[in-house]
């Protein structure tokens, strides 16, 4: 049986009248890439800060590696690597010096530390930038440095709090591949994000958070099975007479039909050949249409159906 690396039990955190974490519980097994998914303000970062004993919480228990986590649990902290949402490096130290500084807080042996620093630099692809100061690095490279500072000491548990915010696609892919490689090398990973694509791509298990509560938990397939939607058909069409709309709504397995911005969006639950049946209706009435595509449900659909709102703001 896989060991629990993290166990959070009935955690409650209040900021005045606001409940940031509402009896939040979680178990993360060894070797998992666990995703905490939720919109901004859902309580992801608060969970991480409580987990790291940075934040005082009102109720609940937190165990890491089977031991109660406290601010002076230095033996536990030694095995954790943290990559914060905000880049946390010294502006006046070079790339190498920054990684060496943080690695030195965990590893005192100089030779071992030097090897770890070199490996971390290579891992994040900053070999050509080791003497650069952070202000000379692009946003993506800076994020990579931030990650290197958190993983150089080869931790068993790596916590990444939205590490790809404001990162270009190339750097983002590199970061995600790196996280998967760290996991393959034996690290358990906790990954928070409000980018569902990232979570879908790398996480083996996911918890969806909203308003400080865990609203769903499971693998991505398990989560998708929790909802009614199995397929969404989108058809670009200039107009949609009411009788046709009624006819499509009456087709088998169709449970929702929306027409907005010249797009007909049909949600289906189960069944086969749903697209063929819809196109048959349109062709029979000689309605011309443009692009047609179907999508399998996403985590956003899961979140939408469970909470009644979109996972991400439109600008995200």
């Amino acid at each position: 049986m896989e060991k629990n690396v993290v166990k959070i039990n009935e955690l409650v955190k209040r900021y005045g009248d606001l409940i940031a974490l509402d009896h939040f519980s979680l178990e993360i097994k060894e070797g998992e890439v666990f995703g905490l998914l939720g919109p901004n303000g859902s309580g992801k970062t608060t969970t991480i800060n409580c987990l790291l004993s940075l934040l005082a919480y009102d109720k609940g228990d937190i165990e890491i590696f089977g031991k109660k986590m406290t601010p002076v649990s230095y033996d536990i902290k030694k095995e954790i690597g943290v990559i914060m949402q905000n880049v946390a490096v010294f502006e006046e130290l070079t790339v190498y010096e920054n990684i060496d500084y943080f690695c030195g807080l965990y590893i005192t042996d100089k030779a071992k530390r030097k090897q770890c620093v070199e490996e971390a630099i290579k891992f994040v692809g900053l070999e050509d930038f080791r003497k650069f100061y952070p202000k000379k690095l692009s946003g993506g490279l800076l994020r990579r440095l931030n990650i290197a500072c958190g993983i150089a000491h080869k931790p068993k548990l790596i916590i990444l709090d939205e590490p790809t915010v404001a990162v270009d696609p190339q750097s983002r892919n590199r970061i995600l591949e790196g996280i998967q490689e760290l996991n393959r090398n034996g690290a358990t990973v906790i990954y928070t994000s409000h980018y569902m694509e990232e979570v879908e791509q790398i996480c083996t298990r996911i918890a969806i958070m909203d308003k400080g509560r865990k609203v769903a938990e499971g693998t991505k397939d398990e989560l998708k099975r929790m909802i009614k939607n199995t397929e969404t058909i989108t058809i670009e069409i200039l107009e949609l007479p009411d009788d046709i709309r009624r006819e499509i709504s009456g087709l088998p397995h169709v449970y929702d039909v929306r027409f907005e911005d010249s797009k007909l969006v049909i949600s289906c639950s189960g069944g086969k050949h749903n697209l063929t049946r819809v196109l048959d209706v349109l062709q029979k009435r000689e309605l011309s249409f443009g692009r047609v595509y179907t999508e399998l449900p996403t985590l956003n659909d899961v979140f939408l159906e469970i909470t009644g709102k979109a996972l991400r703001d439109k600008e995200d």
Binding site: N49, L55, T70, Y74, K77, F90
Partner: protein, 377 residues
């Protein structure tokens, strides 16, 4: 661990431009500015003590010549006399080589070409001599037996009418106070390095603080290492500042220069601990804290008379206790004691006060910073 953190604290500190500007460039620039501004006054003082003047002896006046010889042979002569005939003297005056012509006939006469401090002093000298000569002549006529005594007395009065006697071998010149104030101000700027220590060690103040708090390095060790680094940096800056003023700008600290160093160093360490304490007390952004700290240190400097000289005296009358706990006032007072007092009692008291304030600030800072968890991050 301690040495590892200390090493990087020092590296980070010496590369932080803001700190270098305020702790090194600022005193150099302002000290140089002071030297340029007040140096001209010093130079003029030297010129006053040796005003070039031509003496035209139209009739022989041995008494006057004796007085002039006495003045010129003094340690700090204020006249540089050239004996010449009228034509040559006027030529020297026209060329600007001399400030005036004293003609010695039945009575002294003075010819100058322009108005100024040197000319005023020459006029005063001629008037004094004329007056004293008359007193001497009257005394010789009324009491001939005391003539020599009276003449000696009057002559000494002419050469040096007033002498300031300092209590110490320091430099009690008012201008030196500006340089002492400058050192005190740099010591207070140490608060910026002190604030950096809290910013990078408290999880609720910065991302760096959060990352450091996640590490297995005990908080006491990290804070102590960072504080030690800040103390070392501040000490180096204070040493450089005093050395630059004393040996490059040639500011005269008298024979107590060796004691200026420990006072400046202790003042700097107190400045760092002040910043550490203020940085610890509240949950504000770095920008806000910097603004609060700069305002607080400027206010304390202002109240200690570093900007308006007589304000400290007013506070000493109205609330004397305040000057004893105001860090800026304690630093400037230590220099003042060093400069004015003959013994070291008050100076040592000020050093002890600085040490006590430093310890209090550090302890309070530690008590506040030792929190293990935060209400918000």
């Amino acid at each position: 661990m301690f040495l590892h953190i200390l090493k990087y604290e020092l590296k980070n500190g010496v590369r932080t431009k803001d700190l270098i500007i305020w702790l090194m460039v600022f005193p150099i620039v302002l000290g140089t500015f002071f030297k340029i501004a007040f140096g001209s006054v010093y130079n003029k003082t030297e010129k006053f003590s040796a005003i070039p003047v031509a003496v035209v002896e139209e009739t022989e006046n041995p008494a006057f010549r004796q007085v002039l010889n006495g003045i010129e042979s003094a340690d700090e002569p204020f006249l540089k006399v050239t004996y010449a005939d009228r034509a040559k003297a006027e030529e020297l005056l026209d060329s600007g080589d001399i400030e005036g012509i004293i003609s010695s006939a039945d009575k002294l006469g003075l010819t100058v070409k322009q108005k100024g401090l040197s000319q005023t002093m020459l006029k005063s000298f001629v008037e004094q001599y004329t007056l004293r000569e008359k007193i001497a002549m009257d005394a010789i006529q009324t009491s001939p037996e005391k003539a020599q005594e009276i003449i000696s007395s009057l002559m000494s009065g002419t050469v040096s009418s007033c002498r300031e006697i300092p209590l110490t071998q320091g430099n009690p010149d008012m201008y030196i106070q500006y340089f002492y104030n400058l050192i005190a101000m740099v010591a207070m700027f140490g608060c910026m390095t002190g604030m950096h220590v809290t910013m990078q060690n408290q999880a609720n103040l910065s991302a760096l603080g959060a990352r450091n708090n996640c590490s297995p390095a005990p908080k006491l060790v990290t804070i102590l290492a960072c504080l030690t680094g800040s103390f070392i940096l501040q000490t180096v800056c204070m040493l450089l500042c005093v050395t630059f003023l004393a040996f490059v700008l040639k500011v005269d600290f008298g024979d107590r220069l060796p004691l200026v160093y420990p006072a400046a160093i202790l003042g700097g360490i107190m400045g760092v601990s002040f910043g550490f304490f203020v940085g610890s007390v509240s949950h504000m952004s770095q920008k806000t804290k910097t603004a609060v700290l700069m305002s607080a240190s400027m206010l304390l400097c202002f109240l200690s008379g570093l900007m308006v000289g007589d304000l400290k005296g007013t506070i000493a009358q109205k609330a004397p206790w305040f000057n004893n706990i105001n860090p800026a006032a304690v630093v400037s007072d230590s220099f003042y004691c060093l400069n004015i007092d003959e013994d070291y009692t008050r100076f040592i008291t000020k050093l002890i006060t600085m040490a006590v304030i430093t310890v209090v600030f550090i302890m309070l800072g530690f008590i506040i910073s030792r929190r293990k968890k935060y209400a918000s991050v």
